[in-house]
């Protein structure tokens, strides 16, 4: 499968002692260990502390076992044994765990605190993400891509339509479930601009594996400009191909499910496509935003995403699909 978004390397200090395999892994775009948000940074730091502690304790316990079992030392007294049980089983863990709880509660990330700037409502659908930037009046609708400004804490309001999902962009912070009938929330504060992959982490049926999204952290100025552009209606098609594509879009009834603001297409079942061409990925970060991928998707979405609600358009001639793709790509 081609690469949906450019890979980025987020270097980590203090890890050189780990294996090359490990370092290779850190190039991933969905990594807990490559934080780009305030909360993820805290949690990655916490992880390294926890890991170091765990390694030391594991070596101590198992080293002791190996020593007793293999070196067969002189038998110890019952008093000594009792001491080991009380010291190792009660005193040591009580001290360590108390310290750990105090430390980790102090370091508790702020992602449950109220956000201060932007509010985004994200709804887990089957199997994609409805994303709405809330403002006075109609929210600005998008899908499968969450853009947040760096340097401020944005509020995320999480809902679900049919099934339970879990919203997670590990580079920004921890996850929160989206539960039908309930509204959950969290806040995130990206620190480094860039693109980061996220994925649904609560099993949600057939296409759970195909429910990803792109988190984009932007400089505040860039973000403001982008949001203003998003608020506007769709660009009119300029080329004849694209114009044909728009006619096909309307003829095939795509507007029954999808909205393209500024056209008669006002459906609310599927993702809003007003600025579709400007997104970084296709089909909930399953495919790259490329022409051929788009045509394949339109022809038979279920071949890519099992159980998908969008019907196949394999009855549409290939040339028409190409025009349709041209139109959609142009909706930047």
């Amino acid at each position: 499968m081609p690469n949906p978004v450019p890979q980025r390397y987020h270097g980590l200090s203090g890890m050189a002692w780990l294996s090359t395999l490990f370092l290779a892994g850190c190039k991933g775009q969905q990594s807990v260990l490559a934080p780009a948000g305030r909360d993820a940074e805290v949690l990655a730091g916490l992880f390294w502390v926890l890991l170091a502690g765990a390694v030391v304790l594991w070596l101590a316990v198992n080293g002791l076992m190996l020593y007793i079992a293999h070196l067969n030392p002189r038998p110890q007294s019952r008093r000594m044994a009792e001491g080991l049980i009380i010291g190792g089983g009660i005193v040591l863990p009580t001290l360590l765990l108390t310290a750990l709880l105090i430390y980790s509660l102090r370091e508790m990330p702020r992602q449950r605190e109220a956000g201060s700037g932007l509010t985004v409502r994200i709804t887990g659908e089957s199997w994609w993400w409805r994303v709405e930037y809330l403002r006075e009046g109609t929210p600005i609708a998008s899908a499968n891509e969450v853009r947040l400004p760096t340097g401020s804490r944005s509020e995320l309001v999480l809902e679900a339509s049919e099934y339970i999902h879990s919203f997670w962009i590990p580079a920004f912070g921890g996850k929160t479930d989206m539960i039908p009938g309930r509204t959950t929330r969290m806040s995130l504060e990206p620190t480094k601009s860039g693109e980061y992959r996220g994925q649904c982490t609560e099993f949600c049926g057939e296409s759970h594996a195909r429910m990803a999204l792109i988190g984009v952290a932007m400089e505040p100025q860039d973000f403001a400009e982008w949001l203003t552009a998003q608020a506007g209606p769709a660009d009119d098609p300029l080329t004849p191909q694209a114009m044909r594509g728009r006619d096909i879009f309307l003829r095939e009834g795509c507007g029954g499910c999808h909205t393209i603001r500024g056209t008669p297409a006002q459906g609310a079942v599927g993702p809003d496509l007003t600025h579709f061409g400007g997104r970084r990925s296709l089909a909930a970060a399953t495919l790259p935003m490329e022409r051929q991928a788009l045509i394949d998707w339109l022809r038979d979405p279920a071949a890519i995403k099992p159980g998908v609600r969008m019907p196949a358009y394999d009855h549409v001639p290939e040339a028409d699909l190409a025009d349709l793709a041209t139109y959609l790509e142009g909706l930047e």
């Binding site: 499968m1 690469n3 290779a24 892994g25 850190c26 991933g28 775009q29 969905q30 807990v32 805290v42 916490l46 992880f47 926890l50 502690g53 594991w58 316990v61 198992n62 076992m65 079992a69 293999h70 067969n72 038998p75 110890q76 007294s77 019952r78 000594m80 044994a81 009792e82 080991l84 049980i85 190792g88 089983g89 009660i90 863990p93 765990l97 709880l101 980790s104 509660l105 990330p109 049919e162 339970i164 879990s166 590990p170 912070g173 921890g174 996850k175 929160t176 479930d177 539960i179 039908p180 009938g181 309930r182 959950t184 929330r185 982490t201 609560e202 099993f203 057939e206 759970h208 594996a209």
Partner: protein, 863 residues
């Protein structure tokens, strides 16, 4: 009184009101006096006859714990291998990105069945199997207290397990995950979810039955003198785990009950559009699900607690600490369930509380591990093969425990929850805390069962293959999870940095599978030509090594008098005297299967229990029970009801013919100068304890429904809906009064019967069921106008009424049964155990009825 106090004249003060007659405790002179060899041979012959196992096709009617336990263990092993094959198929699918080996739906079925089968068809049943197999041996007793109940539980398990696991072969398996979260699972099409709900509820009922029996076995069937602080640690763990099953499974069964009502009748318990809430299921599931982890883990610690002292050749260090820790773990495990729900948006306060509680459980767990290390330090550790497996288990488990410390911190869990980090963590705890100790236990205990050892060479090969394979498979998964790979995905994209890690895991899985195969081969390969081992090949100190199975079916030749935790080390004459028939119950002059029942704490002999022997009724009852659970899956309701009625008939037949039989004489010679009653009723009888313990579990199930009612009230603003009709208060009040009267009639009947007023007692027993049925009618009439499909409030009211009414019907059958027993002369003023048990059932039932009617008619008006 100390059990080692063998004063010849003064019997202990705590037995003065016991109807036991004779000398207690036995004097050294009595124990030392030889048994006439001819007499001993004659006794042995009679005993052998009484305990004979049916041969040929009647072998399936066997109920002896050594047979049932073996079938149980082998069946659980077979299910484990099946679930393991599913895991390998999933690993093939995940070996490379965008693989097409399994499609999404098939993969979802496989991971659902892998988890469900490993939990419900392997881990818990394996504990019960091993315990049924070994507990009588560990306690030096003849058999479990209710052998036919063990057999019934086994057949239920076999039928249910084949049904559930077999569904995978027909592409009809559940596919919503072993946790079955609604709305995904409530709305899933096909019969998969119903197979899960009904098939596994059926097995859960069997699991509870086994737990009840194991608890009663530990409390009442210990050998004379084995006070509670002398019990082998394994028995303590059985007690703790049995108790946990008793309180953990009923919330799940209550959840299953609501869930299946939603699926088959569209009652909206988990549907937010009609006032329901998917989170209620998550709470009920994890109130079960977290104790479940410790239900799986503690028995394996128990095995280690038996192996370690033998390997070190010294008594366990810190016995009391271990017991306290086991009990503490049991309690704590019920306070941790929310850590499976850290990401559901709960308030910060409860996150902090459950984080701290989850960390606290490290302490009792650590105590148990350090007690083993301490024992090895006190003695001289021998790396016998079982000990190697235990050491491997400790290495793996401590790693799983330490990642557990990490994920117990709510904020860290927000990152790794539902990723491969958790997959790694849970497999580290379950392999270290279950699979490795159990295999070690099989290598250790095998000579108890077959008098042969498994192969040392194959055992070491198996160990090293499993140990390396396991770590190659699961160690990389920690990193895979940190790099963002979620659980339960059927495939992944190639550019996420997960490819190499997944491939390595798949290779490891196959190495691990090879190790398991070597073990299975070692277990099942023919061993006919290998010599028998001596009876105690490891030089252990506990009673199971006195067993002479399979050569002798009786368990113990005579039930010993115990004064030590390690009798074979501390009581040097013990084995010879047991074999000679010096101790209790050395004979079976009546040709009946008998065992000793002793007091709960001090193990003072109380009576001789007559155990039920082989019979068809458990198998027949299990078949019909299976029909009653399985047929509704296919929406075949009438035959299901008929099956249910036939199952009840089969159980009644079994009770009628095999339980509470009036003995030919009230007392009999129990050996060593003791005359013991042959029939007891009330709290002295194991049957009464079984009813009491079962009803504790039943009450937990009911409490879960009541919890559900309050959950909706606190979680949903529209519960109950302001304009909703309520249950009729007058009819509900009448129902409560009628239930009270039915209870009073039962209690009165017991008093009248004991006073010899048999006619009046029968009259009272006749009135009881009529009052009970009238109460049911009134309660149903009180809520008939409520439409359960419209909103969760009327649905919840209906669910409570169904629960109450079905229990009252059960109570009415029991009253009728007592009446019939009295009329048939099988229950008299003196022999009244049935009536005692029925009265006890009604005590619980009264509480259910009163709380149930209050929840239906009173509380909602105040909400």
């Amino acid at each position: 009184m100390s059990a080692s106090d063998v004063s010849p004249t003064a019997p202990g003060s705590d037995v003065l009101d016991s109807p036991m007659q004779g000398v207690w405790p036995p004097t050294p002179a009595m124990l030392a006096s030889p048994v006439d060899p001819d007499l001993s041979r004659a006794q042995a012959k009679r005993l052998r006859k009484a305990w004979e196992t049916p041969r040929g096709w009647r072998h399936v009617t066997a109920v002896n714990n050594t047979h049932v336990g073996k079938w149980y263990a082998m069946t659980a092993l077979a299910f484990m291998l099946g679930a393991g094959v599913l895991a390998l198929l999933m690993r093939i699918q995940l070996a490379v990105p965008e693989n097409g080996f399994l499609d999404s739906d098939r993969f979802n079925q496989f991971f659902t069945m892998h988890g469900s089968a490993m939990m419900f068809l392997f881990a818990v049943p394996m504990f019960e199997a091993i315990s049924i197999l070994l507990l009588p041996a560990l306690l030096g007793t003849r058999d479990m207290p209710f052998p036919r109940l063990s057999a019934y539980g086994y057949w239920c398990f076999l039928i249910g397990g084949i049904f559930v696991l077999g569904s995978v072969l027909f592409d009809a398996a559940p596919s919503s995950g072993w946790f079955m979260y609604p709305p995904l699972a409530t709305e899933s099409e096909g019969i998969g979810a119903d197979i899960w709900l009904l098939g596994l509820s059926f097995i859960e009922v069997a699991s509870i039955a086994a737990a009840v029996e194991l608890i009663v076995g530990v409390i009442k069937c210990r050998p004379p003198g084995m006070r509670i602080n002398l019990m082998p640690l394994y028995a303590w763990y059985v007690l703790v785990v049995g108790g946990m099953i008793l309180f953990a499974f009923p919330p799940l069964i209550a959840g299953d009950f609501l869930f299946e009502l939603q699926r088959s009748l569209d009652w909206p318990f988990f549907d937010p559009d009609r006032g329901g809430d998917p989170l209620l299921w998550q709470h009920l599931f994890w109130i079960f699900g977290h104790p479940e982890v410790y239900i799986i883990f503690l028995p394996s610690i128990a095995i280690a607690a038996m192996v370690v002292p033998t390997a070190a050749r010294v008594p366990i260090a810190g016995y009391s600490w271990i017991v306290l820790s086991a009990v503490g773990t049991g309690f704590l495990s019920f306070g941790l369930w929310v850590h499976h729900m850290f990401t559901t948006g709960l308030p910060a306060l409860s996150l902090g509380f459950f984080s701290a509680a989850s960390e606290a459980v490290v302490i009792p767990t650590g105590v148990q591990i350090f007690a083993f290390l301490a024992t090895l330090m006190v003695g001289r550790a021998r790396m016998i093969l079982p000990m190697l497996w235990i050491a491997g288990a400790v290495a793996i488990f401590t790693a799983g425990g330490l990642t557990g410390v990490m994920v117990a911190l709510a904020p860290f869990d927000w990152q790794v929850h539902d990723t491969y980090f958790i997959v790694a963590h849970l497999h580290y705890t379950l392999f270290g805390g279950m699979v490795f100790p159990v295999i070690g236990g099989v290598y250790y205990f095998f000579p108890v069962i077959k008098k042969k050892k498994l192969s040392e060479r194959l055992g070491r090969w198996s160990f090293w293959l499993c140990f390396t394979g396991f770590n190659i498979c699961f160690l990389p998964m920690h990193l895979t999870g940190l790099l963002g790979m979620p659980r339960r995905v059927y495939t992944y994209q190639a550019d996420l940095g997960w490819n190499a890690l997944n491939l390595v895991s798949t290779v490891g899985a196959f190495v691990l599978a090879l190790g398991i195969l070597v073990f299975v081969w070692d277990l099942v390969r023919p061993k006919r030509h290998e010599p028998h081992t001596p009876r105690n090949p490891w030089g252990a100190g506990t009673l199971e090594w006195t067993h002479d199975v399979p050569d002798e079916p009786w368990g113990v030749r005579s039930v010993p008098y115990i004064t030590s935790r390690y009798p074979l080390w501390d009581q040097p004459e013990l084995l010879a005297r047991m074999d000679a028939g010096r101790f209790y119950l050395p004979d079976a002059p009546e040709g009946l299967r008998e065992t000793m029942i002793t007091s709960a704490v001090d193990a003072v002999p109380l009576h001789v229990a007559r155990l039920s022997g082989p019979g068809w009724s458990p198998l027949v009852a299990a078949l019909f029970t299976g029909g009653a659970f399985i047929l509704p899956t296919f929406k075949i309701y009438t035959p299901a009801v008929i099956c249910g009625l036939l199952a009840i008939a089969a159980i009644l037949f079994w009770l009628w013919t095999a339980t509470a039989r009036i003995p030919e004489k009230p007392f009999k010679d129990g050996g060593l100068g003791l005359r013991l009653p042959t029939y007891v009723s009330g709290p002295k009888a194991p049957g009464w304890w079984a009813v009491f313990i079962t009803m504790l579990g039943d009450a937990t199930g009911f409490a879960s429904l009541v919890f559900g009612m309050f959950f909706y009230w606190t979680a949903r603003p529209d519960f109950p809906p302001p304009d909703s009709p309520h249950a009729d208060p007058v009819l509900s009040g009448i129902a409560a009064l009628l239930f009270g009267a039915a209870w009073a009639a039962t209690r009165l009947a017991r008093g009248l019967n004991a006073a010899g007023l048999i006619g009046a007692a029968r009259g009272s027993l006749l009135a009881g069921p009529l009052l009970a049925l009238a109460g049911c009618g009134a309660l149903i009439a009180a809520i008939l106008h409520l439409a359960p499909q419209t909103h969760v409030y009327p649905a919840m009211v209906w669910a409570l009424v169904i629960w109450t009414v079905s229990h009252v019907l059960c109570g009415a059958i029991m009253q009728g049964y007592c009446l019939a027993r009295s009329l048939a002369g099988r229950m008299t003023a003196q022999y009244d155990a049935d009536l005692w048990n029925t009265t006890l059932f009604w005590h619980f039932l009264l509480a259910t009825c009163l709380i149930g009617t209050a929840m239906v008619a009173l509380i909602p008006r105040a909400m």
